[in-house]
């Protein structure tokens, strides 16, 4: 029996390749993602060790919440105390800051999309000069090798560098490798500018202080003993940590980044696996249909039903083994390709070895074997029921489960799926349960719909095929009837496409709703005439530009009011939970930004003692105007703030707003996220000509100031709105591109099913060719059959995606989405794209069909 199974596989090579291709792709993606993230993680872990090597102990202030760079600075006198501790060989103060942006020879700022732009004091254990020398004078700086070579920075030339408070000219004194003398290991596109210590303290806004002290112990001294002594010497306001802790911290920072990135990729890989499962199941069903007579013969010759079903399972298992092995190898290749793609996209990842862990192999086997064997259980059970008569009778058909039962099972699954989905979206579950509930709900709906859809696949195919028949005559008629003839096959082929399109459509609906909400908010709340922001592309709340820009813009004649804004991601703590914080000038009230105040007044707020709350958190905290909220800041201060106003619109202001004065007191980040300006005498009531003239003159005046700053750009209200929308659009496009992956797999599925169908209809095709169907007509009929099936899947998918999207848009908090908008145009395009994709997928099967030898085709049993 086993020999027969094996023979079977080897005999039908093309069928075997078609079956395995989809499993291989699924396994390949999963392995690729794991290998990539593992490899990056290992390289980063090694890098963390390299970076911290040479520093035994670190003195710094403690930090409960907020960013690493929010730590309170360590003053000079602590460094002096540390030097006197027995066992300490040397103490070096270090300065680090974000938003230190170098402009290249052309004056263009070097702004990586996402990764930080860091400024440092020179540190010999991390920086290894490869060209020139380390910065020694206040007007010198050095940069990392990657930044230098990518932007043609030349040692000896003068460049503008923008810092947290102002920008200055520096001469490039040298180029260094970071982390390793042999190879620059700067992370993921980060740009680095290093300065001589006192220059760094001045330029990076750490007067007479340091971010941390790096301590080296004397040879022979026990670091643990020195740590204890040092800890006692620096007092309670500061902590001393070992090299090991620093390495672990650096690693866990990297890991957090890699995990997010890896989880996103893994989600896509699992979608790919799910879609593959559909295709594999379908393929096994078709193959079984083709083998009915053969299996019937086996039964007639004495094979038991059990043996027959075991042979079907055995074939699946072998497909699984083969696909898993091939998938693992291809996955290793994919990881390399992904890594080069990421590098090409601006993420400079360390060039470590590709790493295949046991866990990856186990997962690959689980996916490859699991998917194939699970997909073949139903066909195997049906194989058991094949009667020996099947070998003898002329027209053999597998018994199929009745339509009534199908509708019942399918409808139950769909209903249960929606129940789970609704529960996940609206019952206020924790993140983990929410994801579980929503994804299992989605999976149930997908499967249920596929079980249910054969009930109407024939009718829909006929309707969709009608215009094709009108247009193309007999080939159109054949396409229509072939799509309609086996509703089960049409449904499961369409099912794979349905999943991909449902996800894309859902993203489209949610994205459109976010965009609509955002645009409405901008229209309603933005009152300022000008916006000054960092030129960095993409929205990153950690970017910023020198604080002195605010002062300079304020000095422009036409400008009557300037307001600066800061944003701190997860930077304050209220009732023990970490929150984002946004800042403004309370004195400006709603002149520039109107968040729709529902109670109290912004201008009444005390800059150092008040907070503004969105109505949702106000409700959650059970506070109203005049009540006190206790807020903890990254510097450890715990302050009671009185609620000055409650507002409804959180799209710009987020949920918690404090005054800039309070920010400056507790945060060491003077750089601004953006600032707004208004023009004196400007009002919408002025005659249009006057408005235009006023805007033109003031725009020039403001640009005269900001043009000096390469990292800063100015937009008027319309431009600001457009640039914000463009950012949202590019985000949505990225998601769509990723989801298109699922569509790609679905296309392979269509090509696969079609190839098998063509194979199955060999005789019929031979007959048609014999009575005069030209090759061209034959190709056309196969292609249009694919188009009909694709459009059927697309309609199901877009319909489901629409429903998912609307449900999600309703469930998402009003902060992000307060209206449901449907991108009808895009949805229509998806259906058209699906049809075209179907036509493309059919090219190869159609060619194969057309190439068949007529005589052999007729003679085929």
């Amino acid at each position: 029996m086993f020999k027969l199974t094996l023979r079977n596989l080897l005999d039908k090579k093309i069928r075997f390749v078609l079956t395995t291709s989809t499993v291989v792709i699924g396994v390949m993606f999963v392995v690729g993602v794991f290998v990539l993230t593992d490899s990056i993680r290992t390289s980063f872990d090694e890098l963390a060790g390299d970076i911290e090597a040479g520093v035994d102990l670190t003195v710094r202030s403690p930090l409960d919440i907020g960013d690493e760079l929010d730590r309170v600075a360590v003053p000079q006198d602590i460094a002096e105390i540390a030097e006197t501790v027995p066992g300490v060989a040397s103490v070096d103060g270090r300065v680090v800051a974000r938003n230190t942006v170098i402009s290249d020879g052309e004056g263009e700022p070097i702004l990586p999309n996402g990764p930080p732009t860091l400024g440092f004091s020179w540190f010999p254990t991390q920086f290894f000069i490869i060209d020139g020398h380390q910065p020694e004078k206040p007007d010198q700086f050095a940069t990392d090798a990657t930044t230098a070579s990518d932007n043609d920075l030349v040692v000896g030339d003068v460049y503008t560098v923008s810092g947290p408070t102002d920008q200055r000219e520096f001469t490039l004194s040298g180029i260094f490798n970071f982390g390793d003398p042999e190879e620059n290991k700067s992370i993921a596109g980060t740009t680095m500018a290093a300065f001589e210590l006192t220059a760094a303290q001045d330029f990076l806004d750490k007067p007479d202080s340091f971010n941390e002290l790096s301590v080296v112990v004397q040879a022979g001294a026990d670091p643990a003993v020195v740590q204890e002594a040092l800890d006692a010497a620096v007092g309670d306001d500061f902590e001393v940590v070992s090299q090991q802790i620093k390495i672990e911290e650096t690693q866990s920072d990297f890991n957090a980044f890699i995990s997010i990135f890896g989880n996103v990729l893994l989600a896509f890989a699992l979608i790919a696996v799910f879609v593959s499962a559909f295709i594999i199941n379908n393929t096994f069903q078709i193959i079984l249909g083709q083998r009915v007579r053969e299996l019937g013969l086996l039964r007639a010759l004495g094979a038991t039903g059990r043996q027959v079903s075991r042979s079907v399972l055995g074939e699946a298992a072998m497909v699984g083994v083969f696909s898993t092995v091939v998938g693992i190898f291809l996955g290793l290749g994919l990881a390399r390709v992904l890594r080069s793609l990421l590098k090409a996209g601006g993420f400079s990842l360390p060039d470590g070895p590709i790493e295949l862990q046991a866990r990856t192999i186990i997962f690959a086997v689980a996916v490859g074997m699991g998917v194939t064997v699970l997909s073949s259980i139903a066909p195997a059970r049906r194989a058991r029921g094949i009667s020996p008569m099947a070998a003898l009778s002329d027209s053999v058909r597998l018994t199929k489960s009745g339509l009534g039962r199908r509708i019942k099972v399918g409808a139950t699954m769909v209903a249960l799926g929606w129940l789970l989905l609704g529960l996940g979206l609206f019952a206020g579950l924790g993140t983990q349960q929410l994801l579980l509930s929503v994804s299992s709900g989605g999976i149930l709906i997908f499967i249920g719909t596929t079980v249910l859809s054969p009930a109407f696949a024939t009718q829909i195919s006929r309707i969709l095929g009608w215009p094709i028949q009108r247009l193309f005559g007999v080939p159109g008629r054949l396409a229509r009837e072939n799509a309609a003839r086996s509703p089960r096959r049409t449904s499961s082929t369409a099912g794979a496409l349905m999943i991909g399109l449902a996800l894309v459509s859902m993203a489209g609906v949610v994205g459109q709703s976010i965009k609509k909400t955002f645009v409405d908010t901008l229209d309603n709340s933005v009152q300022a005439d000008y916006f000054v922001r960092s030129t960095a592309a993409g929205f990153d709340p950690t970017t910023g530009f020198p604080a002195e820009v605010e002062q300079l813009v304020n000095e422009v004649d036409d400008v009557d009011l300037v307001v600066g804004y800061h944003f701190g991601l997860n930077s304050i703590s209220i009732n023990g939970s970490t929150k984002n914080v946004f800042t403004t000038d309370f004195s400006a009230g709603t002149d520039h930004m109107d968040p729709d105040v529902v109670a109290g007044s912004i201008t009444n707020g005390d800059p150092l003692g008040s907070i503004l709350l969105n109505e949702d958190p106000a409700e959650d905290l059970f506070v109203g105007v005049g009540d006190t909220v206790v807020v903890q800041f990254p510097d450890g201060a715990v302050v009671g703030l009185e609620v000055a106003a409650i507002y409804a619109d959180s799209a710009i202001f987020d949920n918690y707003v404090i005054d800039n004065a309070l920010w400056n007191e507790h945060f060491n980040r003077p750089e601004l996220l953006f600032l707004t300006a208004s023009i004196s005498g400007f009002s919408d009531d002025l005659p249009e000509e006057q408005q235009v003239a006023l805007l033109a003159s003031s725009a020039e005046a403001i640009r005269n100031v900001t043009d000096e700053f390469p990292t800063v750009s100015v937009e008027n209200r319309v431009e600001f709105r457009q640039s914000q929308q463009a950012q949202l659009d590019s985000f949505l496009i990225t998601i769509t591109v990723f989801l298109t992956l699922a569509l790609f797999i679905a296309l392979i599925g269509i090509a696969n099913t079609l190839a098998l169908s063509v194979f199955e209809r060999t005789r019929e095709i031979g007959l048609l060719r014999a009575v005069g169907l030209t090759r061209r007509q034959l190709r056309r009929s196969v292609r249009w059959e694919a188009a009909i099936v694709s459009v059927f899947g697309a309609i199901l998918g877009v319909g489901l995606g629409l429903a998912f999207g609307v449900a999600a848009a309703i469930a998402i908090p009003d902060t992000a989405v307060n209206t449901v908008a449907v991108p009808w145009g895009s949805l229509a395009i998806y259906v058209v794209v699906a049809a075209v994709a179907g036509l493309i997928a059919a090219i190869i099967p159609a060619r194969r069909a057309a190439r068949m030898n007529v005589l052999e085709a007729i003679a085929t049993e």
Binding site: S395, E764, A770, G772
Partner: protein
């Protein structure tokens, strides 16, 4: 219309093979399926090609019908030399001038009986001659079953639809490959009677490949093939005569 090569003689021959030779394989494994067959099939006649299995009778038919190509020699349908035609023109020729009846699996399962019958004309984008079509459908006795799908018809009915399809475009010649091979004797006789009728009353030309002496007895003429060569020919054959001849041939 396919391009034609005219022999210059207007004949009453519907199909003709001249020195038709067909090899399969090469070297030691070479098989001579046809070995210089020269034969003519007259218009308005019902001819049978007989022979034991492996005699090359099916190959001859396939080559005459443009389904297969010769290694050497020539075949004509009417005045058209098939060896000069491209694949596409061969397809068009089959569609327009030739009708087929196969042993089994004769119909497209997704089309109704009527659609199957008019399929070659639909493929050509031609309207069928309604009067002729009605006559054909009437003759096969399927007037009330034209909207049925093949799966709803019996084997005999299916084969009658297949014969009707072959007749429907009023082709120059119809090739039938063991048309009764899959049918019981009563149903088979019905089909043969009907084919006889098509020749006598509808003026059709039929060439049938068979190894069944009873089937051959319905023909005007039987040609006997052994080892790729024509060895005998018989006018107005009866089942007994054919059977005797076959016994004789198999003893050679």
């Amino acid at each position: 219309m396919p391009s034609t090569t005219t022999t210059g003689i207007e004949t009453d021959v519907a199909a003709r093979a001249i020195g038709a030779t067909k090899f399969y394989g090469s070297g030691d494994t070479e098989v001579r399926a046809l070995d210089g067959v020269t034969a003519e099939f007259e218009r308005g006649h019902f001819s049978a090609i007989m022979g034991p299995s492996g005699s090359g009778k099916s190959t001859l038919m396939h080559c005459l019908a443009g389904l297969d190509t010769l290694t050497d020699g020539r075949v004509f349908i009417g005045d058209t030399d098939l060896s000069t035609l491209s694949e596409r023109n061969l397809t068009l020729l089959r569609r327009d001038k030739i009708g087929f009846v196969f042993q089994a699996f004769n119909l497209v399962p997704t089309l109704t009986a009527l659609e199957n019958i008019t399929l070659p004309m639909d493929l050509a984008g031609r309207d069928p001659d309604q009067e002729w079509l009605d006559r054909v459908i009437d003759a096969v006795g399927l007037a009330d079953r034209t909207s049925h799908r093949p799966s709803e018809l019996s084997g005999g009915q299916q084969q009658r639809v297949a014969v009707a399809r072959a007749l429907a475009s009023n082709p120059e010649i119809i090739f039938a490959d063991e048309p009764t091979g899959n049918l019981d004797s009563t149903t088979g006789a019905e089909i043969l009677d009907f084919m006889r009728d098509a020749v006598d009353n509808l003026g059709q030309t039929i060439v049938m490949v068979t190894h069944d002496p009873v089937a051959a007895s319905h023909a005007d003429r039987a040609v006997f093939l052994v080892d790729g060569k024509i060895v005998d020919e018989m006018m107005e054959p009866t089942a007994e005569m054919v059977l005797d001849e076959m016994k004789l041939l198999s003893r050679r």
